[in-house]
Amino acid sequence: MKNQALIDYLAACGVCRVCQLRYLKARGNEYRDMQQTFKRLDVEVSPSAEAQDTPDEQPPKKPRFSICSTCLGLFSEEFQTQLIEGILKSDFANYDSEGIVLAISLPMTLQLRQLSMWFALQRQFGRSAIDDNCPPDVPIKEAVKLILHPIVCARLGKAYDANGLMINIDVRHSVEAAEVAKLAELNRAAFPAKAAHQKRIEISRGLLEKQYQPARIKAELFEKYLPIPPTAVEDALQLQAIELTGPLICVAGRYRKLSRELSHTPWVLHGKRIMEESIEEIIVRHVGPHFSETLEKITFMSSGREDVDVRCLGKGRPFVLEIANARRSSMTRQQAHQMEQAVDRTGKVSIHNLQVVPREQLTHIKTGEEQKRKYYRALCVLEQPVTLDILQKLQISASFDIQQKTPIRVLHRRPLHTRPRTIFSVKTRVFRDNPRLLIIDVVSQAGTYIKELVHGEFGRTTPSISSIIGKPIDILALDVVGIDLDWPADVNNAETE
């Protein structure tokens, strides 16, 4: 099969220049200068057709042949202009994303037309020239990426980015309903066994892609329902709707918590709020509005959590906000600093190292949770004044393992397990004004229940601080003073560049 013969046949079927190139399996930038590509492939095009596709001048088109029978005008200049206008008319200007990605929902008839042309080419050039399994063209979906994407990106002055602002484009065509109805009939005839087995077969794009190839369906059967080659159409594709979905932006930082009356996330019991505020809400309220208008869709994650009555000091606990459909994808250091200061003014929570991070970095916060070391300070009380012997017993620099049963306080809603945990070190000081008070610094494996480690919880955590000294000891207060995770990176937003 010669390229020339192929192109002549396609042109006779009313296939546009771009689609002709698709059938020549043109790649990437070969679509940019089509004339040159045709020349290189040794194909002559009729001068009238050539003039039609020169981008500089737009001669009036003959309505009959102007709409391509295989792409229904998807790759025509009119459609591109219509598309760009549509995008500019949408909320597009309100998104600052550098990168965009097109998501076009196309009518199924385009897939049917591809199959029809596939059969037509097999008839024209024989099954040896045109394969049964491998489509003869560059599929429309791929061609959208190769052809439409670069044009739209250039016209809008944006770069292509699969994770960028998603432009969802809904495209319809007037023949869609009728042709899909035909397809449903064809499907019952072509796969009767399956049709009998299932009550309702959904005609879907996926089904089309999987089942509808010359290898699986006979051209004669197809032709009973739909024409080979595809017929010309009167109308062009209709741009039904354009919807924008902003990128998913991740904002990381570290938080510290000064209040002993502040929960991690909203605390609701029997539909009633126990506490007015939470760390999550305070942070989202001050950081969220810069990126999104829908604060309730922001997800707050952190590397572990502390109890309501526990402070989090030192460098603080790493956290991430996952902001879907973000309007803005970046912030300046100055803006970040303003957010940090606004949170600080609550006097309950402080955030720093605030920054936008790539999504891949979220693994730092999500994985290896068990391996992380946590640093705690506990205020403990003895029944009698401390002795030198007790103080010496509670200076432990070598790590040791404990067995910890699920604490009774959470046992009603969590499974009963005995968990081995490593305590890396224990350092104990006594309060000068009251020798019954001990300040115990513990370095432990993440997931250790510190309150239970201190009093031993009726012997359910062994060994415990209590069992080591052989005396009852209770815990009055707890602070987290360090979390062993060097992420996110240190940034000083207060520093002006």
């Binding site: 000064l258 103080l391 969590r414 000081r429 009093h455 919880e457 012997g459 209770d474 009055l476 207060a477």
Partner: protein, 195 residues
């Protein structure tokens, strides 16, 4: 200071490190202690004490605010006087120490009635006491430490000598509490010398 004698605890005195957060100095953790305040014990903080009488002997139930229950001996239980020799969870037809629970719902836990025998306690005097479950509920955990060393029961602080942890159904909690003696009722009974 009366003497200049060296203080052996001196090297262990707590010193607060300074840190600024939210523009304020972080208060030392020791500020949480209030000398005027009477700190309730762990049992007082989270549990309510109830009592159950069986065969003239009193048993104590520590009822957590989340409805988890610990079954213990009441301080007046005669076994304390006789000396505790041995605890067994083998109650004849079944060994309660073989109890296994799975998942949040504690699936597979033995279902016990208030007067079902939970464990058998033998005293140095040679008496045996059948420890009742005290409430209707699911057996979550038994205190296997008592198997190896029952003597520790004698000295254990309140709660540490628990025989088992039970989980009653939420809907049964009110009836269960009503069926038990409160701390006050128990003390009144003691005064009348009934137990």
């Amino acid at each position: 200071m009366a003497t200049l004698e060296e203080d052996p605890l001196a090297p262990y005195y707590f010193q607060q490190e300074e840190q600024l957060i939210c523009g304020q100095l972080v208060s030392p953790i020791t500020d949480c202690y209030n000398a005027m305040m009477n700190y309730p014990s762990m049992v007082d903080r989270f549990f309510t004490r109830y009592y159950y009488i069986k065969a003239g002997a009193a048993y104590q139930l520590l009822y957590h605010s989340n409805r988890i229950c610990l079954v213990c001996l009441a301080p007046t239980h005669p076994a304390y006087g006789e000396g505790i020799a041995k605890v067994s969870y083998n109650v004849g037809n079944v060994d309660r120490s073989q109890n296994v629970v799975k998942g949040k719902a504690k699936k597979g836990g033995m279902i016990l009635q208030a007067d079902t025998t939970l464990a058998v306690l033998t005293t140095d005097a040679g008496n045996t006491y059948k420890i009742p479950s005290c409430i209707r509920g699911k057996l979550v955990e038994v205190n296997t430490a008592l198997l190896a060393d029952a003597k520790q029961l004698q000295l254990a602080p309140e709660g540490a000598g628990y025989f088992a942890i039970l989980l009653p159904k939420i809907e049964n909690c009110d009836d269960i509490k009503a069926s038990l003696l409160t701390q006050q009722q128990y003390e009144e009974q003691l005064k009348r010398g009934e137990t």
